[in-house]
């Protein structure tokens, strides 16, 4: 098949952000063939970030976040149907309803799901939630509206922290339990995690760090939890926010380099097979992907970032219908935002890819700052707290591998050179309750070649 595909059949598996943006881009690039989008959720693509923000605050309905299209992607939507397998030789996607869809090109955009509480009986207690889908958010928002006495949030990553923030804003008591030393430490390192801890406590969160939840209690209904320090929390709602699991089980027999870290692909979004050989008709985008990035020593990145899903989907779609020489690499620097406790946190680059950090503008005391991260003498990331207008500058420094620490001359009377860089203090993610939303996963496409088996 020649590289530029104008007609023919394209199948996208995963009908969410990456799937939708890819579908639109395919049409924009002139693809006129048949386009089928398969999604196991029964509803059209919707936006997830508001689920832990506007929706939990009661400012938007859970089912109101359906995504707008830039133009009609003119696709056949197979919603409420799970893809159960991929036949790479017959070039077909197998569906749970027994049908199979032939394709000339396939895009894998199956994203992630919430990591469930490991004990299924406890997880099934009424009042125990995870938050990934619109239905999850609807149910949780209803519970919060009913005015629970206390909510227990397990895991102080971005999602857990946002949930805690929404609870406090609604006047609900909340306990956050985190195995690591502080909230967000897996994403932002030590310095900013201490700011995050301060923010939580200042807003009345009962924050317990360095503890694990050993059991969820209840008889049909969730009533509380036991912590590893021997203490006990009485609560009537529990939100398990322990990170995400990549939706790769359906690819178990596809022969791809797919594992717990995602589906490995090259810079052009083409999937690797299990031998590390790049395929030419199977592409990957969004949260389910792992891709190499030149700014981070060509390590494979796994990102759970909205912006990456959009950017990568656009590149993947472009490459799916373009001949080799016109294909583009996905080189976008990772960007992320979170809003919690009235703060806007934005990050660019990979803060965990660092050995040092410096406050370049603002200050911890003022609760507005720019933190710049360095690795072996070059700038690899920056995080702003309520100073988003400066982030662009640091993004450019990251893109050009500028030396760390950044030079002197910040315009806020804050000479950089006097501020000593300190260790960025990034812990091993294994010791955390929250999964970092950005992970460096080594160089090898097949390194995580654990054979995954279908859950059921």
């Amino acid at each position: 098949m020649p590289g530029d595909l104008r007609e023919g059949r394209i199948v996208i598996v995963g009908a969410s952000l990456a799937g939708l943006r890819a579908a639109e881009t395919l049409r924009e690039k002139g693809f006129t063939g048949t386009l089928t989008v398969v999604g196991d959720e029964p509803r059209p693509p919707y936006d997830r970030p508001p689920l832990s923000k506007q929706v939990l605050l009661g400012k938007a309905a859970a089912n109101a976040t359906e995504l707008p299209t830039r133009w009609d992607p003119d696709a056949e939507w197979r919603l409420g149907v799970r893809a159960t397998g991929l036949d790479p030789i017959g070039k077909r996607v197998l569906l749970a309803d027994g049908e199979s869809l032939p394709f000339d090109r396939l895009l894998i955009a199956t994203g992630t799901r919430a990591r469930p509480w490991p004990n299924p009986q406890e997880a099934a207690l009424d009042g125990v939630f995870t938050l990934r889908t619109c239905d999850d958010a609807g149910r949780l928002a209803d519970r919060l509206a009913a005015g629970p006495r206390r909510v227990l949030v397990i895991g102080a990553g971005f999602t857990g922290s946002e949930i805690a923030s929404a609870c406090r804003e609604r006047g609900i008591e909340v306990t956050v339990a985190e195995r690591g030393p502080a909230p967000l430490v897996g994403a932002l390192g030590g310095t900013l995690s201490r700011l995050a801890a301060g923010m939580q406590r200042a807003h009345g969160v009962d924050l317990r760090c360095g503890v694990t939840v050993t059991a969820l209690r209840g008889n049909g209904r969730f009533t509380g939890a036991d912590l590893s320090d021997g203490s006990r929390i009485d609560a009537d709602v529990c939100v398990v926010a322990m990170g995400a699991v990549r939706n790769v089980e359906w690819l178990a027999d596809a022969g791809l380099a797919a594992g717990p870290q995602g589906v490995a692909c090259d810079a052009g979004c083409r999937a690797f097979n299990m031998y590390g050989i790049v395929t030419d008709d199977v592409f990957v985008a969004g949260d389910v992907s792992r891709f190499p990035h030149p700014l981070f020593d060509y390590q494979m990145l796994s990102l759970e970032h909205w912006g990456n899903a959009v950017a990568q989907a656009e590149v993947a779609a472009h490459n799916m219908v373009s001949p080799g020489p016109l294909r583009r690499p996905h080189l976008a620097v990772p960007v992320f935002w979170s809003s919690q406790f009235g703060f806007n946190i934005k990050s660019v680059g990979v803060p965990t890819f660092s050995d040092q950090v410096v406050i370049a503008q603002g200050s911890l005391a003022a609760r507005r700052l720019v933190a710049v991260y360095g690795y072996r003498g070059r700038i690899t990331a920056a995080v702003t707290v309520n100073m988003a207008k400066w982030l662009e500058y640091y993004q450019r420094l990251i893109e050009t591998a500028a030396p760390f620490p950044p030079g002197p001359g910040a315009a806020d009377g804050h000479p950089l050179v006097t501020e000593f860089p300190i260790p960025s203090d990034v812990p091993d993610p294994k010791g955390l309750s929250h999964g970092p939303t950005v992970a460096l996963t080594g160089h090898l496409p097949d390194r995580r070649l654990t054979v995954v088996r279908r859950a059921c």
């Binding site: 992607p73 912006g307 960007v335 806007n344």
Partner: protein, 69 residues
């Protein structure tokens, strides 16, 4: 009609909040919250907000379920 704001681009200039305060809100100094579903009577304001956004981060469009396809 629906909106989605690309908050990776957003730099909190808040032009949208000024122009369509029923739809957009600043939470603290910078964090933007918005109503994703646009009632008809807000559409004109939302379009003004989208045009005014200094980083062109606001996408206004039909929901997928409203598309012909």
């Amino acid at each position: 009609m629906r909106i989605v704001v690309d908050l990776t681009r957003c730099q909190a200039y808040a032009q949208c909040v000024f122009l369509a305060p029923e739809m957009f809100e600043l939470h603290g100094e910078e964090a933007l919250l918005y109503r994703p579903d646009v009632p008809d009577e807000q559409l004109e304001r939302v379009r003004q907000a989208a045009a005014a956004c200094p980083v062109q981060a606001i996408l206004v469009g039909e929901a997928v379920s409203a598309c012909a396809g």
